[in-house]
């Protein structure tokens, strides 16, 4: 593992008692890139996030964030890492303004002006108790807090869960702005495959605790198209007597390009078959 990787996970296994929920997972996230970890509910995404954030100790294997072990260097790392949890747990009686003043005391490079601008862009009222904000507004507040201490790495755990289309879009827009302005490394788990499709550089897909895909989005899509093309050979060739190579090429050319979502569904089905 080199210092150049923002996240390095090697042979990670996580177990809860006798239940192993993450098995021998290895991947790296390069600085300045966006890595999307996909997987169905219960696939092990949250356990990996907890290991990354030093909240859960690895049963086996190694985890490094910015070159450091999150289990032993958690406090130091959390100053350099922005986190958007699946469900933000703000004290419901506190306003965004009060929470921000608390954050300002925690983080030496807290950007109060930037925080205010983000809240205004989102239209989140900063004086209202967070318990009275909508779910979307709480997610937006959470992202604003995570970005306003200029993190080197941003970890988002299903940030658009339960949000409506407008709130989802605003959240991704803010994320894109951050990528353009600061080139922050992003690690995100999500079910919003259409939303992340154009943003992720690389995706991992978890199935039953194992990482069954770890690949650049561009090559995943190219490879997957070819695969469906070859599968379609008998149909594409029909009764013609084309030489096999030519038939395969024709099938490839006719093969449909799949969206990330379709690839995910197909691989999840394959995973189920393999597990049988």
């Amino acid at each position: 593992m080199t210092d150049q990787t923002a996240i390095a996970v090697r042979n990670l296994s996580v177990a809860y008692g006798p239940h192993t929920v993450v098995q021998d997972v290895t991947f790296e996230v390069a600085p300045g890139t966006v890595y999307a970890l996909l997987g169905r509910n219960g696939a092990g995404k949250s356990s990996i996030i907890r290991s990354l954030l030093g909240q859960r100790r690895a049963s086996r294997g190694e985890v490094r964030l910015l070159g450091l072990d999150p289990w032993t260097r958690r406090a130091e790392l959390m100053a350099r890492v922005g986190v958007v949890p699946e469900v933000p747990d703000f004290p419901p009686e506190l306003s965004a303004r009060r929470i921000a003043s608390f954050f300002a005391g925690l983080y030496p490079c807290w950007d109060a002006a930037g925080f205010g601008q983000r809240l205004r862009r989102f239209g989140v009222p900063d004086g209202r108790p967070t318990g009275r904000l909508s779910r979307g507004q709480r997610a937006q507040l959470s992202l604003s807090l995570a970005l306003s201490h200029a993190p080197e790495l941003l970890v988002l755990d299903d940030p658009t869960l339960g949000l409506d289309a407008v709130a989802r879009r605003e959240l991704f827009d803010e994320l894109i702005g951050e990528l353009a302005d600061r080139g922050t490394t992003v690690f995100v788990t999500t079910h919003d495959l259409a939303g992340i499709e154009g943003i992720a550089d690389r995706v991992g897909m978890l199935h039953g605790g194992r990482l069954i895909v770890d690949e650049e989005v561009e090559s995943l899509k190219a490879r997957h198209r070819r695969r469906t093309g070859l599968r379609a050979v008998p149909v594409a060739v029909g009764e013609s007597v084309q030489p096999r190579e030519e038939a395969e090429r024709a099938a490839h050319d006719e093969a449909e390009v799949m969206t990330l979502e379709e690839i995910f569904v197909e691989l999840a089905d394959d995973g189920k078959e393999a597990a049988r």
Binding site: G32, I176, G177, L179, G198, I199, D201, A222, V257
Partner: protein, 134 residues
């Protein structure tokens, strides 16, 4: 600054950076983006298309390398005033490569040489109509 009639299609076999690159080339060719005009910043276009800014930056870099766009430091990115200057050899290379793609596609769909020629003529007509319409 013009609103960008660029579209990203997740079902397009071309990677996103190439879709952006070709979209801008097309806009320049049809006069949708006039010489000297500023193109959106990487940040703006990335937000508009909802793609990673690095993807837009890659397309812009390739367009700048090809002489279609020009980056003026501190001012922004612009469509170049003059068509990219190329040697005759370079022009010939670009044309040959594009013609090769057309020939391969035509062959793949079992089209005749004549059909391919006609398709090329129609494409030229469309480009010219697009320019006149502006």
């Amino acid at each position: 600054m013009p609103t960008t009639p660029l579209r990203i299609d997740p079902r397009d076999p071309a990677p996103i950076w190439r879709q952006i690159e070709e979209g801008i080339r097309r806009l320049v060719a049809t006069g949708g983006l006039e010489p000297g005009l500023a193109v959106p910043s990487v940040r703006e276009l990335a937000r508009g298309l909802r793609v990673n800014p690095n993807t837009v930056a890659k397309a812009y870099q390739r367009l700048a390398d090809a002489g279609v766009l020009k980056v003026k430091r501190g001012e922004g990115t612009f469509v170049t005033d003059a068509p990219p200057s190329m040697t005759d050899g370079q022009r010939s290379q670009v044309l040959t490569a594009a013609a090769d793609r057309l020939a391969v596609e035509a062959h793949t769909v079992n089209a005749s040489r004549r059909e391919a020629h006609e398709a090329l003529d129609r494409a030229f007509d469309q480009l010219e109509t697009g320019r006149e319409a502006r």
